[in-house]
């Protein structure tokens, strides 16, 4: 071949030089577990649904969310959102308002009438769920989607459990419960109200059920021994809250003393405040030691609820009570001081926690009951084969979210048990802690705060206190998510590779390394904002 002057070799491309052979470490893509997901008691894939919300595809976001939790509009109001406490964005500015976006999606779904897909197959198995609280509803939903025939038997006149008979309207409007429960029933779940199960064995036999999930909650108000005159009025908090649901409104008088420092005490105090009374909470320890969440105490104080910290009730008489001042010892326990005080009180409401009514389990062999709760194995099954349990009636943190998580977990194990197999949860990937992220790349963005109702209406009506985000705010808030540990297709790896060794596969398909040329410098791993690339040593 004729070559130009001074040229002796054919031109060649450097592609002939496979620089991949230089490598001692190689980058690999992975999905790490975002701390929010790792913390959610209902096992939501938060990062996953936020990914869809970020692009404005709220329906896809809602569908992804409800794979794990069928109650987003409820969760978005009452969940104590431990996810936000774990959110990596708090190390940048403030945590992502996950809960407020969840509520936005839940409300959007109700507004637009989104429904769950009908189960594709029917297994022919029948499962009884006892109790239509969050745990029972969650189990029913997941069992139905797995193709089982589900019947929920509920003692009360409405579905919702403590969400209906405990949590007040001003935190959780009843239409929201109705809408989300209705959607579960649309899957073919049968709900029988006013149907108290008094013997589980009998109920299962009568209905020919193959398995049962018990979620009866904890509804018996705990008593405390307080010397009281015959005319003193004492009631328990749960029955006060329950009576708000249509029965006779409770006659408590003007000056109502609420005894206890948990969320129930706060809810009762705020409820009677709205009915025109003057509630005073009496609690034996200090505000920071109270089991109620600080934001709830704050909201109650804003509404004019009074609190006597470090006080116990010694005596109750008609029209007044005697309280004793307490002092914290060096271990932080309250000790009596011998100092007394009287307080005008038309009634005393006890909010000292609840016990489980285990009557329906009488005579069931194999069960283990400890400290008033039913013991279950890691698969949520009680000591009696085929009877599973979850929510407030088993040992755990008593929240709606934990109850929902139990329902999902139990459903998976019931499904496997009915098929004669065992459900093995997929292995958990490593956590995407803040040290795995390169936060330089995220734009500065202040957290969007949810608006609240004005104080006058909060003191006199049962209108919802905390309001929702509008679409613009919700989108903004969703985009604050850092996408911890999961590729969000920012193209950084593709851009920063000095060797063009990253192949872009196109929208939604992420990337691939070209190991023929990747020298293993690791810039991609350092510059991936969200920690979706890991360097691993090459074998030999």
């Amino acid at each position: 071949m004729d070559k130009p002057f001074a040229i002796t070799l054919d031109p060649g491309s450097s592609l002939a030089n496979k620089t991949g052979s230089w490598r001692t470490f190689k980058p690999v893509y992975l999905d790490r577990l975002p701390p929010c997901n790792a913390t959610c008691p209902a096992g939501e894939n938060i990062q996953g649904w936020l990914f869809h919300a970020e692009s404005g595809d709220y329906e896809a976001a809602w569908r992804s969310l409800t794979e794990n939790n069928p109650l987003p509009a409820i969760m978005g109001r009452v969940c104590y959102h431990p996810c936000e406490g774990a959110c990596n964005r708090q190390h940048v500015d403030t945590a992502v308002g996950i809960n407020s976006i969840e509520r936005f999606l839940g409300d959007e779904a109700i507004r637009r009438g989104w429904a769950f897909p009908k189960p594709a197959v029917k297994t022919g198995k029948r499962v009884l769920v006892v109790g239509a609280g969050p745990s029972g509803l969650s189990a029913a939903y997941h069992l139905a989607r797995l193709g089982h025939a589900v019947e929920v038997q509920e003692a009360g006149p409405y579905a919702g459990g403590m969400m209906r008979f405990g949590i007040p309207k001003y935190r959780l409007p009843r239409e929201v419960i109705e809408a989300e429960v209705g959607r579960i029933l649309d899957l073919g779940v049968v709900l029988r109200l006013n149907c108290k199960v008094s013997s589980i064995e009998q109920a299962m036999k009568e209905g020919q059920f193959d398995a049962a999930f018990l979620a009866v909650g904890a509804h018996i108000g705990k008593r405390a021994y307080i010397p009281a005159g015959t005319a003193a009025k004492m009631v328990d908090a749960v029955s006060v809250l329950r009576s708000m649901e249509g029965e006779e409104p409770p006659m408590l008088g003007r000056r109502v003393v609420v005894y206890g420092g948990g969320n129930t005490a706060i809810d009762v105090a705020r409820t009677v405040k709205r009915m025109g009374a003057e509630p005073v909470i009496v609690y034996r320890r200090t505000r920071d030691k109270a089991p109620a969440h600080d934001f709830e105490i704050e909201e109650a104080l804003q509404e004019g609820v009074m609190v006597k910290w470090l006080s116990t009730i010694k005596q109750a008489e008609e029209g007044e009570i005697t309280i004793e001042k307490m002092a914290l010892d060096e271990k932080g326990f309250p000790q009596p001081t011998g100092e007394f005080e009287t307080l005008a009180a038309d009634s005393v409401v006890l909010a000292l926690g609840q016990d489980v009514d285990l009557g329906l389990l009488d005579g069931v062999p194999g069960l283990e009951v400890k400290d008033g709760t039913v013991q279950v194995g890691p698969n949520m099954m009680t000591g009696h084969p085929g009877i599973f349990a979850g929510g407030d009636m088993v040992p755990s943190e008593r929240t709606v979210t934990v109850a929902v998580g139990h329902g999902k977990k139990a459903a998976r194990h019931i499904d496997a048990w009915l098929r004669g197999t065992a459900y093995v949860p997929p292995p958990k990937p490593e956590i995407a802690g803040i040290e795995k992220l390169n936060t330089w790349y995220y734009s500065e963005a202040p957290h969007v705060v949810r608006p609240t109702l004005d104080i006058l209406r909060r003191q006199s009506s049962f209108e919802e206190v905390v309001q929702g985000l509008d679409e613009t705010n919700a989108l903004f808030e969703a985009r604050r998510c850092l996408s911890c540990g999961n590729c969000f297709e920012c193209d950084n790896c593709y851009g920063v590779c000095p060797d063009n060794a990253v192949i872009k596969l196109g929208p939604g398909k992420r990337f691939e390394f070209n190991y023929d040329y990747c020298k293993g410098c690791g810039i991609c791993a350092t510059e991936c904002p969200c920690g979706a690339i890991k360097m691993v040593a090459e074998g030999n």
């Binding site: 491309s13 450097s14 002939a16 903004f476 000095p498 063009n500 410098c521 904002p529």
Partner: protein, 337 residues
């Protein structure tokens, strides 16, 4: 509550791409169809900032000229690692000049283009010259100044890695003070490169009052691409000075190349600005101001400052230089000025 109601895109334009942005708002590097002007298989070290900076810059120039581009390249790492005869990584018309004359070669190409255009033989073809800091600030300085002074229609890009890296890390007039190189050892009372010598070529280019002068780093891709795009809109002599960390010469981890460039900018060590006809038009503000130690410590070329008795005096002098940049160029953004 104040918040941006719209236009918040999670990472904005800090990342290379961003799936939430419209395709036309994304960077050239984000495109699956980018030119890859300098292709895989080149022999640059792991994590080479120069290879990266060259692809960023030349791909942007190719995009801006729709592929009608010729590049002249001075001797130096960029030439050596990309083109060991007969192989080349360049996917554009590219010529290797001598070490010191690349500006002159580019001037010649530009002159030839002008003639060919006049004769109607050629479409509009643009010219880029590129070289390392040694080839630019030292041996190629005369040719470059001439190219500026004649206002030849060339974009000159200097890839500044602070030394003669290709021949074994010797000092250049762009080596920063206190840095150890093979010719400025970390020995004696004033270890490393001396203070008070060397040249800051962007300022010299500015003094020529040519149509366009800019600095950039491999840590701010969008800024770099915008500058190349702007430069290609202008006719006449243009100069872009890009900071390209060198893992070998700086003694940094290969994985830290972009991070080092970012630290140089965020500490004020390397001011990033843009000027037209001798006047500064804009600066890239520091986002999170950091002390110079954060930039110096990860680099072995400054290890002698962090020995048993740290040289706080020397670090303070380097901090003073960074502070002066911040003051002089107003690097803290509008509010801070």
């Amino acid at each position: 509550m104040s918040f941006q109601p719209i236009k918040f895109y999670q990472t904005g334009t800090f990342t290379v791409g961003n799936r939430l942005l419209a395709p036309e708002e994304r960077s050239v590097q984000a495109s699956a169809k980018r030119f890859n002007s300098i292709n895989s298989g080149h022999r640059a070290c792991q994590g080479c900032g120069e290879a990266l900076g060259a692809r960023y810059a030349i791909d942007a120039a190719m995009e801006a000229t729709q592929g009608r581009l010729i590049a002249a390249n001075a001797t130096g790492c960029l030439e050596v690692f990309s083109t060991p005869y007969p192989e080349t990584s360049w996917q554009i018309p590219w010529i290797h000049s001598l070490f010191g004359n690349t500006a002159a070669v580019a001037s010649g190409i530009a002159a030839a283009q002008k003639v060919k255009m006049k004769k109607g033989e050629r479409r509009n073809i643009r010219v880029v010259a590129q070289g390392g800091d040694g080839g630019t600030t030292d041996i190629g300085f005369g040719c470059l100044s001439g190219m500026f002074e004649r206002n030849d229609d060339v974009l000159y890009i200097c890839y500044d890695n602070g030394g003669y890296m290709n021949t074994g890390v010797q000092r250049s007039s762009a080596t920063p003070p206190a840095a150890r190189t093979s010719t400025t050892p970390a020995a004696g009372a004033e270890p490393g490169n001396v203070f008070g010598q060397g040249k800051y070529l962007p300022a010299i280019a500015l003094a020529h009052e040519i149509p366009y002068v800019a600095t950039a780093t491999v840590a701010d891709l969008r800024d770099l691409e915008a500058k190349v795009r702007r430069a290609m809109e202008i006719r006449g002599a243009r100069y872009i000075h890009i900071l390209v960390p060198c893992p070998l010469g700086w003694g940094t981890a290969a994985s830290d190349t972009v991070r080092m460039a970012r630290l140089a900018k965020e500490t004020g060590v390397f001011p990033v600005f843009e000027a037209e006809y001798g006047e500064i038009k804009s600066v890239l503000a520091i986002r999170h101001r950091l002390p110079v130690e954060d930039y110096l410590k990860p680099q072995k070329r400054y290890a002698h400052l962090f020995g048993k008795t740290p040289r706080i005096d020397v670090i303070a002098r380097l901090q003073a230089l960074a502070d002066r940049n911040i003051r002089k160029y107003g690097l803290l953004g509008k509010e801070a000025n």
